[in-house]
């Protein structure tokens, strides 16, 4: 008997107490937990990011490009990697936006930072969700560079994790693409429980929240929370 057959046989034997007629859905799961989050979502999202010591700013649609420029200048960043569909969308002064596909991994390691949008964001936990869809690029883009500048449109912010998972579930079912949930910069408390921020992922995360980043005017591949 091969391993698969043997393990399945062991399981079947182990579950002798489960009636043959019982289906998985017959096992009751009561979901009395909160499904949605109430209250001013944008304010809550910003508040949570501040808690994580992530630099976050609310900007007007007209002030977005200037805010990008400022964030880069503050770090001395003049070259940012971007997803292909953001390459020509903004022209921040003094900053060159390089489509990620033109970059090898080693180049991503030394570039000044990355600039992306996101799939959605979660107010309750200050989470940004990246699913490789419109304006996000590949996973490497938001992982390797030391600085990640992320633009979030207010309408992309949902209240709770259950709401976010509903959207993520749709992405998983329809595209099977990898999804990353980012809540603040990386951290460790492994050395004497003393918290150190920034281990392997981007050590600096800057989030710009705006009511309109012009995303709806871009041609793109769809993800569930895209404004249509």
């Amino acid at each position: 008997m091969n391993a698969r057959a043997e393990i399945l046989a062991r399981i079947s034997g182990a579950l002798r107490d489960v009636p043959a007629s019982e289906r998985p859905e017959d096992v009751e799961v009561s979901r009395g937990y909160r499904q949605t989050e109430e209250g001013p979502l944008v304010a809550r999202f910003v508040e949570r990011l501040v808690d994580y010591r992530t630099a976050v700013e609310r900007v007007s649609p007209g002030g977005l490009v200037a805010a990008i420029t400022d964030a880069c200048r503050g770090r001395g960043a003049c070259r940012l990697a971007v997803p292909g569909d953001l390459a020509g969308h903004w022209r921040p002064a003094g900053v060159q936006l390089v489509p990620e596909l033109e970059l090898e991994v080693q180049a991503l390691d030394t570039i000044d930072g990355a600039l992306t949008g996101c799939a959605l964001a979660v107010a309750e936990t200050g989470t940004i969700v990246l699913d490789g869809g419109a304006r996000q690029g590949s996973r490497l883009l938001t992982l390797v560079p030391d600085f990640h500048l992320c633009v979030v449109e207010e309408r992309q912010i949902v209240g709770s994790i259950p709401e976010a998972m509903t959207a993520i579930a749709a992405t998983l079912r329809s595209t099977g693409r990898p999804v990353t949930l980012v809540s603040g910069p990386s951290a460790t408390s492994d050395i004497e429980l003393s918290r150190v921020e920034g281990v392997h992922g981007p050590r600096t995360l800057v989030v710009l929240v705006t009511s309109d980043a012009g995303f709806s005017r871009l041609a793109h591949a769809r993800s569930p929370l895209d404004p249509s």
């Binding site: 579950l15 979901r31 991994v105 590949s138 992982l143 509903t166 998983l172 809540s183 990386s186 392997h200």
Partner: protein, 447 residues
Amino acid sequence: MKPSFPAAARVALQDAQLRTNLAAATTTIRRKRAAVIEERPDWEELREAGRAIKARVLRHLDHYLVQFERAVQSAGGTVHWARDAPEAGAIVAAIVDATGAREIVKVKSLTTDEIRLNRTLSAAGIATVETDLAELICQLAGDEPSHILVPAIHKNRFEIRDLFRVELGLPGLSEEPSELTAAARAYLRRKFLEARVAVSGANFAVAETGTLCVVESEGNGRFCTTLPQTLITVLGIEKLVPAPEDLAVFLQLLPRSSTGERMNPYTSLWTGVTPGDGPQDFHVVLLDNGRTRVLADEVGRPTLACIRCSACLNVCPVYSRTGGHAYGSVYPGPIGAILTPQLVGTHAAGSLPFASTLCGACADVCPVKIDIPRVLVHLRARVVREQPGAERFPMRLAAWVLGSPRRLAFAQRAARISRGRVPGLGAWTRTRDLPPMPERSFREWWE
């Protein structure tokens, strides 16, 4: 043969540095956990949903495993099944071997520790690089991890500095945690960029979509699951959840229970292979290694619901003083005391179910409501049946005496005459006085 818990605990309790570190660690995490849980008025509902979802999965584990396998395969991944640790290790070694890689990077995974993967790979001429900071520290020091969540809690910054100075070739390194962390980052980044093969575990796996989920803080998980060409995930068969929506429950339960955060920095979800993004060669190794034995025991079965948060460790009066090494097992603390004897057999870990005062603090904090004290007592009964010891005769005698009011009254009079001296209580009287024998028992007073 590993030392029994009482013997190992005696040694551990004498380590003042360890006790101080543990007290600080467990107190801090307890406080943080309490704060983020207080924020959630629906915490009990979340726990109940977590318990129920796991109960559903376990009761239909074969159905969900087959569904998971099909989904992973449709997404371009390969699924392997391993009955035990040696089989799992051999499968991983063979996959690595086929790529020609002689070194792999690894994300912390208790499951891979359980199957002693590093040792197996090393014997096959394959070096493993641990990429979690604490695991890296333990690996470089040749130590075993001592806590599920903060495995290097037994090391202070000076010890780590000295270790890095030598092993990472950085003679001028200071003991500042930020500098130590930066040194590890630089060292590991080179490893990440060169790695062709990575091994990970997973916190959860979604049966319906074949999606794996890794929850982490440092970012090494993201690197290991994204950069290399080949990714191998070792997955205990109990880690499944039915549908992606179910992750919403566990992604709320886990960070709050383990690190006391609303959400951990990075959670990665991936399904099979995605052309143009990440590993193009993906393998899942489904591991039994005793889990089906736990599954077969109705009282013990809920043990498999564990999501490895370590909340039980942090509230345990025993663990928080003895630390993890005293348990002699990959899984320490309250969950270890019930999981390990069930996985390896009570004959090999018979002292663990007794390493508890049954105070119940663990059951109160377990995010999936495992009734740990109940399983502890259940396993104690098994040990007593399988390994009757010197204690059996006095216990049976006591039961006989207590079985009749006349015999009890007689024994009370006898104890009074012998002035309460009972053999075998040396361990008590070393540090505690015995209560004085009263002149009359209650029932004598009542007459």
